[in-house]
């Protein structure tokens, strides 16, 4: 785990010849000293080098480190080849960083300062430990690489299934269900269970890894969408008229008549909310833990058949036929944001799991990538056939369905993509597309049934068992359900920034402070004016008092003034350096400079 440079240094240490310990009866030997001088010098520089490295790593704890490296000597006289704690790669630490270091307040607020320093230390330790644990995670993500001159998109599913082990190969399969298609589908949160809903009323749920059929019913009505609720015991089916809830045995639990003509559904797992978009342009939220309608919003934008959720902040994105995408929360009757994304209608929308990127496809045959934190377009691609369905995997693979072809793209937001990562033709027009969580599998529902596709590198390799455990037992699921229900987030907390709750509310404080000042008639937080102490022996002359007052004048502004002056100096310096460089460069270039004055 030590960095290579350090390893070489320590090698030198180990290789150094050991000097026998000096005894008090021995005379100090001059010649040996002289002879050893070179070697010693080397040792010194090395140690100095090592120290330098340490100082670079952690300037604050230099003292401790030095003491540690001295103290790490074993009784045998050997020194520890890897002194100090094992280094952690910076990018890994960065991954767990929640916030930057808090600016410590002025030393006047001693208690606050102590608190902030302590909490900063604790959080630093926490994300360092998390980064250390990250190295020990058992699984690695999948990948697919072609040979030279071989595009990965030309590799067929059969080849992949042949190349991998039997259990993984068995994850590529087709279900030929031509009678009741086309099919919508949904995977449960753990990725173990698959729910299929055929347009002509066929609903089936399957433990797809063991290929065990849990239930199969025909609701004798057209099915618009299917969705698992929080666990694999219940699912919602949007039927022709109303919304129905079934359990995993296919028994109808509820028929919710408040929710009619539902076309698309999204389930917000941490809020226990089922968001539905209907043909009557209503966006409705159903709290599935208590069975109450939380909000019903009339969007007044016509038929809503494009919908997705932002898993980062539980905002619902709706796509409209006029090319706009609107963002909704249950707390507001109007859209939070309206974005004009396409020239034609929006066909599909998808948001990645970190809530940073939104991918949309439209009737104008374009595929666009947006940064939805800044609401800025990042990339725009032209797909000749246009994409009807989009889906994003845990690790950021984008799958787009054009007609009966499913294409998978990699890194659509960071690098301009020219060709797909994978492609696969299914037997009918694609109707639904969904990545299986924690698996390298893409489920495709189409006119002729269902295809489970292998997409190496799609799934998150290491799951967190307290969040979603694919291997959980029934008992574990029950316990998880209780815990999850206890920490159900209230729908009022849905907002564009999910961390808003953890930030300091300055405006309310200011308002309250103003009220307080109003009530008291004076500002209790105002600083007292400085009154110089009376001093004896003529040291309280008018001039002296003025001088003492001047010493503390504008103390509150001093920091700001100092900062601005420093900034100015820095800019000035940079400017000068730049000019100097320019002058040097131009001095080298021109031969006619000597005629210049």
């Amino acid at each position: 785990m030590a960095s290579p440079s350090k390893a070489t240094v320590s090698e030198a240490h180990v290789g150094k010849k050991k000097k026998p310990p000096a005894r008090y009866w021995q005379e100090p030997r001059e010649e040996e000293k002289g002879g050893n001088k070179v070697g010693k010098d080397e040792g010194r520089t090395e140690s100095a080098l090592q120290q330098e490295q340490h100082t670079k790593l952690k300037p604050r704890k230099r003292k401790q480190e030095e003491a540690g490296s001295d103290g790490k000597k074993f009784i045998s006289g050997k020194s520890d080849p890897f002194p100090g704690p094992a280094p952690i790669p910076e990018d890994r630490v960065q991954k767990f960083k929640r916030k930057d270091k808090t600016k410590t307040p002025r030393p006047k607020h001693r208690k606050l300062r102590d608190m902030i320093v302590r909490s900063d230390e604790a959080s630093e330790m926490a994300h360092k430990q998390a980064a250390r644990l990250d190295l020990l995670l058992p699984e690695d993500a999948g990948f697919l690489e072609g040979d030279e001159d071989e595009d990965t998109c030309t590799i067929s599913q059969e080849d992949i299934a042949d190349a991998v082990d039997i259990t993984s190969g068995a994850k590529y399969f087709n279900l030929k269900l031509s009678q009741f298609g086309p099919y919508r589908l949904d995977y449960s949160k753990t990725g173990r269970h698959l729910l299929l809903g055929g347009r002509r009323g066929h609903v089936a749920c399957i433990d797809w890894q063991s290929k065990q059929l849990m239930c199969e019913i025909n609701v004798m009505e057209s099915v618009n969408d299917v969705k698992w609720l929080h666990s694999e015991t219940m699912y919602a089916v949007a039927q022709k008229k109303w919304l129905h809830i079934y359990d995993s045995n296919g028994i109808e639990l509820h028929c919710i008549r408040k929710f009619n003509d539902v076309l698309r559904m999204q389930f917000l797992p941490y809020h226990f909310l089922l968001a539905t978009a209907s043909a009557t342009s209503f966006l409705q939220y159903l709290d599935v833990s208590v069975g109450k309608e939380v909000a019903a919003i009339c969007t007044k934008t016509g038929r809503l058949d494009v919908m997705c959720q932002n898993p980062h902040n539980a905002i619902i994105h709706l796509g409209h036929p006029n090319g706009t995408v609107t963002l909704w929360s249950p707390n507001q009757k109007e859209a939070l944001v309206k974005m004009l994304c396409h020239q034609g209608g929006v066909r599909s929308v998808a948001v990645d799991k970190t809530g940073t990127y939104m991918v949309t496809s439209g009737m104008d045959k374009k595929l666009k990538v947006y940064d939805i934190r800044a609401f800025k377009p990042l990339k725009s691609y032209f797909l000749p056939a246009g994409a009807s369905c989009l889906s994003l995997s845990h690790r950021g693979l984008l799958s787009a369905a054009t007609g009966d072809i499913v294409q998978v793209y990699k890194d659509v937001w960071s690098t301009p993509v020219t060709k797909p990562y994978m492609a696969h033709r299914v037997r009918g027009t694609v109707w639904g597309l969904h990545y299986c969580p924690f698996e390298d599998v893409l489920g495709v529902g189409h006119g002729d049934g269902f295809t489970s596709m292998l997409v190496p590198g799609a799934g998150e390799p290491n799951f967190d068992a307290l969040d979603a455990n694919p291997y959980r037992s029934a008992k574990q699921r029950q316990e998880w359900e209780v815990k999850a229900l206890l920490e159900k987030i209230q729908p009022e907390l849905i907002s564009l920034n999910p961390n808003e709750l953890g930030q300091v509310d300055h405006t309310t404080f200011q308002q309250r402070h103003q009220d307080r000042v109003q009530a008291l008639g004076f500002d209790p937080l105002a600083k007292d004016r400085f009154t110089p102490k009376y001093k004896k022996k003529g040291r309280s002359s008018a001039g002296n008092i003025e001088r003492r007052k001047k010493q503390v004048a504008h103390e509150d502004q001093r920091d700001i003034i100092r900062q601005t002056v420093e900034d100015k100096m820095k800019m000035e310096k940079e400017r000068q350096e730049k000019e100097k460089k320019k002058a040097e460069l131009s001095g080298q270039k021109s031969a006619l400079d000597r005629f210049k004055k």
Partner: protein, 445 residues
Amino acid sequence: MKVKILARNPDDYVRETKFDIQRVPRNYDPTLHPFEVSREYTRALNATKLERVFAKPFLASLDGHRDGVNCMAKHTKSLSTLLSGSCDGEVKVWDLTKRECVRTLQAHEGFVRGMVVRYCGTSFFTAGDDKTIKQWKMEAPGYGEEEEPLNTILGKTVFTGLDHHQKDGVFATCGQQVDIWDEQRSSPIRSFTWGVDSFSSVRFNPVETELLASCASDRSIVLYDMREAAPLKKVIMTMRSNTLCWNPMEAYYFTCSNEDYNLYTYDMRILDRPVTVHMDHVSAVLDVDYSPTGKEFVSASFDKTIRIFPKAGGHSREVYHTKRMQHVICIKWSADNKYILSGSDEMNIRLWKANAAEKLGVLAPREREAANYSQKLKEKFQHHPQIRRIAHHRHLPKSIYHQTKELRTMKEARRRKERNVRKHSKPGTVPVVSEREKHVVTVVK
């Protein structure tokens, strides 16, 4: 073609036999845990609600006294022993684990005014209205033996308070003057007076052991050094202080309970203004005692409630009351920081939990971990309005509720008047006097 597909071996994730515990692989990647702030907030809200649900502070009532309990003393060595003296001169020794009286003795005629256990825990002193100080053995007399004090000192005047030195055989009493006594002698080795007044309480400093402080009836608090002949200094306040208690951890702070419904924490070195004014009681505060950690103290009041204050907080974090508890006269915080003992007018001693929602008894490691976690969460989100409202909500008896409201109105009216006066007078002629400065009249050295 090179390909790798995620393939987990179920054996790595599922327990081997049903006698094992379930495997719980973790991944702390923040992207796998969305809404962490909101979820923590929800947990904190639940923890706060549960705390209120489980807040059952009252543990037991020790009855047996035949008159109001006037003073109590903690045993210095044994956690389970408590001594109490009542208004009819009776002293009882209690076993708190069994919650029963183990010994009763008629110590004085009239009130038992002060009681203190010697630092070694082998004997205790009582002072009474009959002008005597008596020293008693801690263990009960054998069968057939008479209850006899080890030592009796006849004083000239009535004693109102008593405290013992932390390390030496020296104790202090107060009455018309503050006396320092040697245990071996029958006359005080030193007497302090400052003006003609009577003292209500005297306390030794637990760290700087030669220092002591007393509350006098001329509204002053006087500090003494035992080694000097004269008192050190005093602060005179607007109303009389009843008792005081030193902070055991930061022994330069002491808190006094005042007749004006407030408690004041002073820094011994700066008596010009109290460090904190603790308000919330609606009647005179009669007694105060610090927790052994020095972070909180408990006060007993004439308004029939007990309140717990953080040492630096202006308002109480907890209020205890029962229908049957009358004016609370004396209060003690147990040495293990877990219990509070209150002695009241209606002859009962009550045992309370210091943390109302705490689960007593041995906690399993997971239980303790969960408790610590929820405690931390509550701290983290304590300023959020919803959580704050639930955490601060207390049910109060009607009378106290109305009195609080009335006091608030009065205070508001006074403030409004002052504000108007200030508004209509020449700027600077009506200075703003802070709450802390209001109650101090002067400091005399």
